[in-house]
C-alpha cells in the first residue's frame, strides 16, 4: 500500500490554478523531498494530503483511505510552516493537550520533549520560547502517537546547524521504522543525503521527480573535475579549450574542467596518463544545481 497516492490532482481558487495535473506517490518508509519556490503549490499539496482542502479535480488517498478519515489523522503527523502554539500554556501542557486530541498516551510527552531537546524548558510558557524551540515543540507534536506518515513543512527554519542535523537523523530513524515522510524545504544543502526521492514543483506543475541519481541523469548537468599538481598547465588548458571543453586555471597548479555526459572518464584517463597529479576532486551537480536547472527550464516554458 502506498502511503500517499495523488492522481491527476488539479486545484483552482476561482480562476487561478495553483496545482495542475499533479500525480505523485509515496511508498511506505520513503522520504520524499518536495521543493519549489513560494507559491509553487507545495503548501496546497500538503493541505490536500491533510484533507484541509477538497481537490477541484483528481484524487488523493492517504494510507489507503480518504485524507480526512479520522483513522488516517490518528496516524499522521504534521508540522506546519512557522508553527505557533497557545502562548499561555507550557511546553508540557501544550503537548499533553495535543496528545489527548490525537488519542495518544500522555506518558509519551515527556519522552518526546527529551527527544527534541526541550526537556529543560518543558515547564516554561511557550510565550518565552525562541523560534527554534517552538519549531522543536512542533516537531514533538507531529511525532505524537507514533505516526506512519509525517508531513513536515519547512522543518529546519529557525533551527541551528546542530538541531538541523538532529532533525535529519531523527527522520532517518523514523524511516527505518517504516514511517513515510514528506519534507518541504527551501533549504537544499544538507537535505540530499536524507531523502529517497525529490520532487520539484514550479508554477503548480511537477517539473521532475526521482532519486537524485535519476534526476542528475535526466538533467544531464555537467560535472566538474578539479585537479591539482599539474606541471604543464598551460598546454592542458590550450589543448582542452581548443577541443571545446571549458577548462580554467585553479590556484597555483590546478585546473577545473567541465565534463558533460560521458566525457568524465576520458578526461580523467587523459590526465592520469600525462601527469602525476596530487589531488582529484569530482563535483557532481548538487541538489541546488538540479533545482536551479529545473526552475530555469520551467521559466523558459512559461516565457
Amino acid at each position: 500500500m502506498n502511503a500517499v497516492e495523488i492522481q491527476n490532482l488539479t486545484q483552482r481558487y476561482g480562476t487561478m490554478t495553483v496545482l495542475e495535473d499533479l500525480s505523485l506517490t509515496l511508498d511506505e518508509g520513503e522520504v520524499l523531498g518536495l521543493f519549489g519556490h513560494n507559491g509553487a503549490g507545495k503548501t496546497t499539496t500538503m493541505k490536500l494530503v491533510l484533507g484541509l482542502l477538497n481537490a477541484t479535480e483528481g484524487r488523493v488517498r492517504v494510507l489507503g483511505r480518504e485524507p480526512n478519515d479520522p483513522q488516517v489523522r490518528r496516524t499522521l503527523g504534521y508540522l506546519p510552516e512557522n508553527v505557533t502554539f497557545y502562548a499561555q500554556l507550557s511546553g508540557r501542557e501544550t503537548l499533553r493537550h495535543f496528545a489527548r486530541l490525537k488519542g495518544a498516551h500522555t506518558s509519551q510527552t515527556d519522552h518526546l520533549l527529551e527527544q527534541v531537546g526541550l526537556g529543560h524548558a518543558a515547564d516554561r510558557k511557550v510565550r518565552t520560547y525562541s523560534k527554534g524551540m517552538r519549531q522543536r515543540l512542533g516537531l514533538a507534536q507531529a511525532l505524537l502517537g507514533e505516526p506512519r506518515l509525517l508531513l513536515l513543512d519547512e522543518p529546519t527554519v529557525g533551527l541551528d546547524p546542530v538541531a538541523t542535523e538532529d532533525l535529519y537523523s531523527l527522520i532517518d530513524g523514523l524511516r527505518q521504522q517504516g514511517c513515510s515522510v514528506i519534507l518541504c524545504s527551501h533549504v537544499l544543502p544538507g537535505v540530499e543525503r536524507h531523502i529517497d526521492r525529490g520532487a520539484i514543483l514550479a508554477g503548480g506543475r511537477l517539473q521532475a521527480v526521482g532519486t537524485l541519481t535519476s534526476l542528475r541523469q535526466e538533467a544531464a548537468l555537467p560535472e566538474r573535475i578539479r585537479v591539482s599538481g599539474v606541471v604543464d598547465r598551460e598546454s592542458w588548458l590550450q589543448r582542452w579549450n581548443a577541443a571545446g571543453h571549458i577548462a580554467t586555471p585553479l590556484g597555483n597548479d590546478g585546473i577545473e574542467v567541465v565534463a558533460r555526459g560521458d566525457q568524465k572518464l576520458d578526461l580523467l584517463r587523459e590526465l592520469l596518463a600525462g601527469e602525476t597529479l596530487t589531488d582529484i576532486e569530482i563535483h557532481q551537480p548538487s541538489l541546488t544545481d538540479l533545482y536551479r536547472h529545473y526552475m530555469d527550464q520551467a521559466s523558459e516554458v512559461t516565457a
Binding site: L50, L52, L53, Y78, P80, Q88, F98, L101, G103, Q141
Partner: protein
C-alpha cells in the same frame, strides 16, 4: 464526546488561568449585593426592599452585562485560533469542526454558568442569611430562575459570538461585530420597536407586535424574570407588550433554548464553509 471534552477542558482551564472566571464571579457578586442593598436608594431607602424589586433590578443589569461578557469571552474562539496558527493544526487532528465548536461552547458555557452560580449564588446566600424574615422559598425560586435564565442568555450570546468568529477574517473585525451585536440587541432593538409603535399610530397589527419581542433574546430574558411576581408588575417600556403575549412562561424558556440552538447551527454552518 471525548474530543469535545478535551477542547472544553482547555477552554475551562484557560478561563481559570487568566482569571476570567474569578473576575466575572466577583463582578456578579458585587453587583448583586450592591443592588440588593442600595437598589432602592433612589427612593430614599437603604437596605433590602423586596425580592421582586431586587430581581427586577438585577435582571435589567444582567441584560446589559451578560451579553457583553459572553461576547468578550467567545468572539475570538475561531478567528483567534486561526490568527494564532493553531486552527489549521487542530483541523489535521482526528477532530471534526463540530466537535471544536461544541467543545468551545461547553468550555465557555461552563465558565459562564459557574460564574453566575458563584457570583449571584453568593448574593442569594448573603440575602438569605443577613435579611430577617425573608421568604426563603421565594428567594430560592426567584434567584434560581434568575441564575438559570441568565446563564441561558449568556449561552445565546456565546453562540452568536461563534457566528461572528466563524464569519470574520480578522480578530478585530470579530470584536467590532460583537460590539455591534451587543448594541443592536441590548439598545437598538427596543428603541426601534418603540419607534415602530409610535410611527405606525396603531395601524400596525397589534396582535403581531408582541411576537416581535421573541426576536430579541434579551427581551425574552427580561420577560422571564419580570413575570411571576403578583406584586406590582414592574414591566416598563416595550416590555409591557409582553403582557399581551399569549404564550406561557415555559415557551419563553424554550425560545431562549431555540436561540442557542439556531445560533450554534448557524455558527457550525459558517465554520464548515470557512477555508483554512
Amino acid at each position: 464526546m471525548n474530543q469535545i471534552w478535551n477542547i472544553a477542558r482547555k477552554e475551562l482551564s484557560d478561563g481559570l488561568r487568566n482569571r476570567w472566571l474569578l473576575a466575572i464571579s466577583l463582578v456578579f457578586a458585587l453587583l448583586a449585593v450592591g443592588i440588593a442593598w442600595f437598589g432602592a436608594a433612589a427612593s430614599g431607602q437603604v437596605g433590602f426592599t423586596s425580592i421582586p424589586a431586587t430581581i427586577a433590578s438585577l435582571a435589567s443589569l444582567a441584560t446589559f452585562l451578560m451579553p457583553l461578557i459572553a461576547l468578550m469571552l467567545a468572539y475570538d474562539a475561531i478567528v483567534g485560533e486561526e490568527e494564532g496558527g493553531t486552527l489549521m493544526l487542530l483541523l489535521t487532528y482526528p477532530l471534526g469542526r463540530g466537535q471544536i465548536l461544541l467543545g468551545k461552547f461547553f468550555g465557555h458555557g461552563l465558565i459562564l454558568a459557574l460564574a453566575t452560580l458563584i457570583g449571584f449564588g453568593c448574593a442569594a446566600v448573603a440575602i438569605g442569611v443577613l435579611v430577617e424574615d425573608v421568604e426563603l422559598s421565594l428567594l430560592m425560586w426567584a434567584f434560581g430562575r434568575f441564575m438559570i435564565s441568565s446563564t441561558l442568555l449568556g449561552w445565546v450570546f456565546l453562540a452568536l459570538a461563534y457566528v461572528l468568529s466563524s464569519l470574520a477574517r480578522e480578530k478585530s473585525t470579530a470584536a467590532g461585530l460583537a460590539l455591534g451585536v451587543w448594541f443592536v440587541f441590548v439598545l437598538v432593538f427596543d428603541l426601534a420597536l418603540l419607534a415602530v409603535l409610535v410611527i405606525s399610530e396603531g395601524k400596525f397589527n397589534p396582535d403581531l407586535l408582541p411576537w416581535l419581542l421573541l426576536f430579541n433574546p434579551t427581551d425574552i430574558y427580561r420577560l422571564i424574570n419580570l413575570s411571576g411576581f403578583e406584586v406590582g408588575s414592574s414591566a416598563v417600556g416595550v416590555l409591557t407588550l409582553g403582557d399581551d403575549l399569549p404564550i406561557s412562561g415555559w415557551l419563553l424558556w424554550a425560545c431562549l433554548v431555540v436561540w442557542v440552538g439556531v445560533s450554534l447551527l448557524l455558527a457550525y454552518w459558517l465554520f464548515r464553509r470557512r477555508v483554512v
